[in-house]
Amino acid sequence: MRMRNLVASLGVAALALTGAACGSDEPDAGGGGGGNAASDACGDLHKFDTAAAADVAGSATYTKIKTRGNPVVGVKADQPNLGYKDADGKRCGFDIEVARMVAANLGFDPEKIEYKEIPSANRETALAGGEIDYYVGTYSITDKRKTQVGFAGPYFIAGQDLLVRKDDTSMDGGKTALKGKKVCSATGSTPIQRVKDEQLTEASNISEFKTYSECVSQLLDSKVDTVTTDDAILKGYAATAPDELRVVGKPFSTEKYGIGLPLADKALRDKVNTILETSATDGTWKAIYDETLGKSGSDSTPPPLEKY
């Protein structure tokens, strides 16, 4: 009797195991597919013409890249259409395109860029220590950071905004319409801190998850009413599901995204600013915006540079 029970439960366990194995095999067989893979996978990247080796006189970083043969760039990997790495390890997004554009114009093949994922808290250390040559990843230019790193740009101006379900118009008024709404953002982040400090909604209505993707999942399941952070990040999510999500478009802060460079390297900073300037006038900026964040349905223009 005991033995028979044991055999029976083992049989059930074995069935469950093989079932699980089948389940996990299927997506692989489909080429990393699955239901939502179409929107999650990276498509083709923008084609940049690699410039003739442009010598940047007096730039230690440029000399380093040249001897190595390829640039090492710090990026983010969890922001769709901004700085993203898909299941196959392919990278794409607006920040990635900016990184590739800079590399191409410095005279290096953008396909040979070595990417490093640097968490927000470690960006200054990575640039100062020479671990990366430059950093492109929703890096806001602030006076405090300018004492530790150099900034080229801004190449994009973002602002705290709201991501809502497409049919929900109750928060179109922007931040003043948040009262009584369930708001979600990343744990401890500046945007959620602003919501708390300005008491835009009640404390019991605030949800904090480790990543924005988890907030977006809760938004789609109607467990929260809005996700708040920089509009660039929100547009990236809206672009992955334009039929279900949209960005309100009433930003209530200003974040200037710059390209982080080693502090002392003014020569490289000037060169990168020139590259950004050219991209704004010759339409490259617009082209890569439309291919990435522009898919969310909202328009944008290149911001004026702040050279120093």
């Binding site: 744990t187 401890g188 500046t190 801190q193 998850f209 480790k210 999942s217 467990k223």
Partner: protein, 215 residues
């Protein structure tokens, strides 16, 4: 080092207060539910025994993070709605911990010789009376130390709720990183906080053991 704590005193107090509430509610619920399950597992009704055994074998082998993820991300997709993330966390901790409580209580029940239960049955007590009056009071003596261990584990397990929108002690480091505070000092103070929270549990165990020894 000390300024890291004093400058952010409110954050620490709020975080640990949520931890304590989460722990106390989940502890009471899992003790009650776990004991009930143990009753199931030793009951004369085969269906109840099967439920008890099935529950323990499923929940004891499931990572807690998965239980959380199921309640917070999976349940809404199946149109099951839990009131708040705090209560989702309480439920996740309770269903997970009660599997362990069940097994501990059952092992305590097994330390009581079957002769006692048989004697109680022969004087006409019902199954509930046998368990409630004769077996469980004696069984608790044997299970105080392992039960305390499980409760301490539960206290520490509450930090997983930080990843599922409950701003308890485990969520403090993220806020401190954004404020530009030293991470190492933050983690040291959180450790100190947990050590302080464990002290009452240790005393409770000592008190219970002494009391049971007299009985």
């Amino acid at each position: 080092m000390l300024s890291v704590l004093t400058d952010n005193w409110e954050l620490f107090v709020d975080g640990f207060w949520t931890t304590v509430r989460l722990f106390l509610i989940a502890a009471v619920l899992s003790l009650v539910f776990g004991t009930l399950l143990a009753g199931f597992r030793v009951s004369p009704v085969p269906a109840l025994r099967a439920i008890g055994t099935g529950y323990v074998n499923i929940l004891r082998n499931t990572p807690l993070t998965l239980v959380f993820a199921f309640l917070v991300f999976g349940a809404p997709k199946m149109q099951i709605s839990l009131p708040t993330f705090f209560w989702s966390a309480v439920i996740a901790l309770t269903v997970y911990t009660s599997a362990f409580v069940c097994e501990i209580v059952r092992s305590g029940i097994n330390t009581i010789s079957p002769g006692q239960a048989e004697a109680a049955r022969s004087v006409g007590m019902t199954f509930m009376q046998v368990l409630g009056i004769v077996v469980l009071p004696q069984a608790f003596r044997a299970i105080v130390p392992p039960l305390t261990s499980v409760m301490i584990a539960l206290l520490k397990n509450t930090t997983i709720a930080a990843g599922f929108s409950v701003a308890e002690a485990g969520a403090i480091p993220a806020v401190m990183a954004e404020r530009g505070q030293n991470q190492m000092a933050t983690l040291v103070w959180i450790t100190v906080g947990f050590l302080i929270l464990i002290i009452p549990l240790v005393f409770l165990q000592r008190w219970a053991e002494r009391r049971m020894a007299v009985a």
